[in-house]
């Protein structure tokens, strides 16, 4: 696979997978034009000489060029589009919730970032596949599942602590994939009625919307579901079977559900709605259960539909305001970039030191986890301990590093960031660990403790 080098490619092309490999990069003409409009052409085409994500800060040569001549880093450009995306979201271009439930319009900035994150998605898919292979899915499926989830990454991304979009995306995507794999595994063993009990409110609404149910009707489905959950409950501690009065196989149960629904619907539903017979409720909820299953097993068609860059006519064309404020005019971005690099440098120093001070067993554990990408099971087997011990020790090691980071904050002595922003520090640590061990993989320098000489660096 040829890595993308120029900013133009990074922000306007999408990967075409063949088996387990990226066969080629496909350009999207709208995105191309947009990148060129926001960068002078020489910068767009030139290879991106600064890739702070892949280099440790101490290997970078200090910049002595004048600000205007500095090449734009991919990190800076990604932040540029991120800000554009934020602006597009807050300027009232919310997805329309109308009765046809069309797919919401996506800002161009989001597509640029989706393109940018393609490699990140590929590596995440590959790593996760390595740790958790699943007979039904291959790398291309894993890749497809996450590359359509850009919005989810952007929604809670916070660049103010210096973590990169790619690093954050990798965390979110890994989590999404594991979550998805668990769900798929679980629905195979859950009965239809059991499945109905095991979806979140949010997922239910996604499923209803996906099935084309109008908002007003969705309310009724939702309340029927609430009534179902109140009455149909398991009869054993770990069994999936339902108990006597709440057994969905019994007609009396549906009568009870219908009664609850009909008596309380006036209070619960915002619009007037007809009463439902037990059979009607049963049929509706049976449909919902099927839709939930289908939602998790997208057909090939819908996968194609959600591939970024291939929608037609659903993109907001914001090329018009593209010219107004180009990247070159934003000297602030350059300073922010420099600041970030300095912070990263400090972080790097602190962590390298902390790592060397850690006891060898803990260092080894981190290495096996991050460098060799071993799953919890594999780690347990390799180290001859049970999984919960592995988990506990790994977390302790990371906590140790986290403590050092919390203590070395440059601002006033013991002031912590807001509770909701604390997680950025944890993300920074993760990102650093990933990069640190990826570098070790690239340049096979002797690690501090090589207990297993047969370990080979894998890419």
């Amino acid at each position: 696979m040829r890595p993308r080098l120029s900013l133009l490619e990074l922000f306007s092309t999408f990967a075409l997978l063949e088996g387990d490999r990226i066969q080629q990069w496909v350009a999207d003409p709208r995105l191309r034009r947009s990148v060129q409009a926001n960068l002078p052409s020489d910068k767009a085409q030139a290879p991106d000489r600064q890739t702070p994500d892949r280099q440790s800060p101490d290997r970078q040569s200090p910049d002595r060029q004048a600000p205007e001549d500095e090449p734009v880093s991919e990190a800076a450009f990604s932040l540029f589009w991120y800000k554009r995306w934020q602006d597009a979201c807050s300027s009232g271009d919310k997805p329309q919730q109308d009765s046809q439930s069309r797919p919401p319009q996506r800002p161009l900035a989001e597509l640029h970032l989706a393109a940018y994150l393609q490699e990140s998605c590929y590596w995440t898919a590959r790593k996760t596949l390595q740790r958790f292979s699943n007979l039904s899915y291959g790398l291309a499926d894993y890749f497809q599942l996450i590359s359509a989830e850009t919005e989810r990454v952007l929604k809670y991304f916070n660049p103010s602590f210096g973590n990169s979009l790619k690093g954050y995306a990798s965390v979110v995507h890994t989590s999404l994939l594991k979550d998805y794999l668990r769900q798929v595994r679980a629905i195979d063993v859950c009965s239809d009625w059991s499945l109905l009990r095991k979806v979140s409110h949010k997922r239910l609404h996604e499923v209803l919307s996906h099935a084309g149910i109008a908002v007003s009707e969705a309310e009724q489905y939702h309340f029927a579901w609430v009534c179902f959950k109140t009455i149909c409950l398991p009869g054993q501690p770990t069994d999936q079977t339902f108990e006597g009065k709440g057994d969905p196989e019994q007609p009396e149960t549906w009568s009870a559900i219908a009664q609850l629904y009909n008596t309380k619907r006036g209070q619960q539903l915002s619009a007037a709605s007809p009463p439902l017979t037990p059979e009607q409720i049963q049929q509706r909820l049976a449909k919902v259960s099927r839709w939930i299953r289908q939602y998790l097993y997208p057909t090939v068609d819908s996968l194609n539909k959600t591939r970024p860059g291939q929608e037609k006519g659903e993109i907001q064309d914001d090329l018009a305001d593209g010219g107004a404020e180009s990247l070159l005019d934003q000297a602030i971005d350059r300073e922010a970039d420099a600041d970030r690099r300095q912070q990263q440098g400090q972080l790097h120093q602190t962590l390298v030191q902390a790592l060397t001070q850690m006891d060898p067993a803990a260092q080894d554990l981190l290495r096996l986890s991050y460098q060799e990408n071993l799953s919890q099971q594999a780690l347990a087997a390799r180290l001859q301990m049970n999984q919960s011990t592995v988990s506990r020790r790994l977390k302790k090691a990371e906590e140790n590093l986290l403590t050092k980071l919390l203590d070395q904050r440059p601002d006033s002595a013991h002031k912590l960031p807001e509770p909701s922003e604390l997680k950025q520090i944890s993300l920074l640590l993760r990102e650093w660990l990933e990069n640190h061990y990826a570098d070790c993989r690239d340049s096979p320098a002797p690690s501090s403790s090589t207990s297993d000489p047969s370990v080979s660096a894998r890419r």
Partner: protein, 406 residues
């Protein structure tokens, strides 16, 4: 089976089958199937996670009585760690898309917590996974309130996934950083409380928390006594009219007081305050004492009933008469209780002939004090934890009974 798709860095815990059985048994005491399952899940959650927390630092679960009546109506449980309240919200959802918190936990002052943990149970109910946490403030400010279901929803991605951060920093944030302001609950008059309790106390009412306007529901649940009353009503337990409300003194030890029991200076005039605090206790015991006063309506007047609790040290035990089963040499788990009756307002003397009788639960008189035109009546005794008694305050022919459990 379902523990395969977790990493070593995920916060997962295996659920012990024995705990599972115990939780199941305990949950049977609830009266509706929904409440039984809810109690089961929450108990599983609590029993599995609490020991893990206790390995790191001191932690207490919510007391069992509070747990029972909470789980009768809403999902969620509480662990207190170093004065910080962690609210655990279990969910069976297979998709980990959002944290869904019942509104009670956010908008009722006595329920609110500092941190809310999203706890997921795998499909086989054998593994617990804590996906992340958020503060009260975050949920209030960033979450969406579903007015029909009365739940706050926050995307999972907004939560902090790394529990290490919680352990490392929970003692460093004050409530001004973890909590958003909470409006005080509406005032409910006794007839309203009665009406609500009657209406919602019918166990065939399957969705009690959605029946009445949230303001009334919140006010009812904010008051532990009323909440308990509602729970008892739904449980179908018959209470004698006079002793429906049991004052649980053990909770006073934890700093939890019903609205009716106020600090002395809120109820007594200065000269009565002086009389009240004239006691024979040494300074150490005095400092450990807990005192509260309640205004009792006696028809032709009001009096203030003062209850003074002093946990006793091992030395003091064994030198006084005790209440109840007469175990001469007491254990360390004893309290000295002093009861006083004072006039309220600007009155110097108690109205008419006022009497105070100490009764066992069965109504047998254990001690009494009576006075005519006097400033105060006192009664002092010793009781063990778990013992219960009744107080009868009488004035002429008006009688009021108060029940207590130590």
């Amino acid at each position: 089976m379902f523990s395969t798709y977790f990493d070593a860095t995920d916060w997962t815990y295996a659920i012990d089958p024995q705990l599972s059985q115990a939780a199941w048994q305990h949950s049977r005491r609830q009266v509706t199937t929904w409440a039984q399952w809810n109690a089961y899940l929450n108990q599983l959650c609590l029993s599995t996670f609490l020991p893990q927390v206790q390995e790191r630092t001191g932690a207490q679960a919510m007391d069992p009585a509070w747990a029972d009546r909470t789980w009768a109506v809403a999902n969620g449980s509480v662990i207190t760690v170093n004065g910080v309240r962690l609210v655990l919200i279990p969910s069976e959802a297979l998709d980990q898309s959002e944290l869904e918190v019942p509104q009670e936990w956010i908008d009722i002052p006595s329920w609110a917590g500092d941190y809310y943990l999203a706890v997921y149970l795998t499909a086989d109910l054998q593994t617990l996974h804590i996906a992340g946490y958020a503060t009260h403030q975050q949920i209030k400010q960033q979450g969406c309130l579903d007015l029909n279901q009365r739940t706050y929803h926050l995307d999972l991605e907004a939560l902090t996934p790394d529990l290490s951060l919680l352990w490392l920093t929970h003692t460093r944030y004050g409530q001004d950083q973890t909590r958003a302001p909470i409006a005080p609950p509406a005032q409910l008059l006794p007839p309203q409380v009665q009406a609500l309790t009657q209406r919602l106390g019918d166990p065939s009412e399957l969705l009690p928390r959605l029946e009445v306007p949230f303001a009334s529901w919140a006010a009812l649940l904010d008051n532990p006594t009323w909440h308990e009353q509602l729970y008892q009503q739904r449980q179908g337990q018959q209470q004698s009219a006079a002793t429906q409300l049991v004052n649980r003194l053990s909770r006073w030890m934890q700093g939890q007081f019903d609205q009716a029991w106020q600090p002395l200076d809120a109820v007594l005039q200065p000269q009565q305050l002086a009389i009240s605090t004239r006691s024979g206790l040494d300074p150490v015991s005095l400092a450990a004492s807990i005192q509260r006063a309640k205004v009792i309506d006696l028809g032709q007047g009001q009096v203030a009933l003062v209850v003074n609790l002093t946990p006793m040290s091992a030395q003091e035990v064994g030198s006084e008469e005790g209440v109840g089963s007469g175990q001469g040499v007491g254990s360390e788990q004893e309290v000295r209780i002093e009861l006083q009756v004072h006039p309220t307002g600007s009155a110097i003397h108690l109205p008419g002939e006022t009497g105070l009788r100490l009764l066992s639960l069965a109504g047998v008189e254990l001690a009494q004090a009576q006075a005519q035109v006097t400033e105060t009546i006192r009664l002092q005794f010793r009781a063990q934890y778990g013992e219960a008694f009744q107080l009868e305050i009488s004035c002429n022919d008006q009688v009021v009974l108060e029940a207590f459990e130590v």
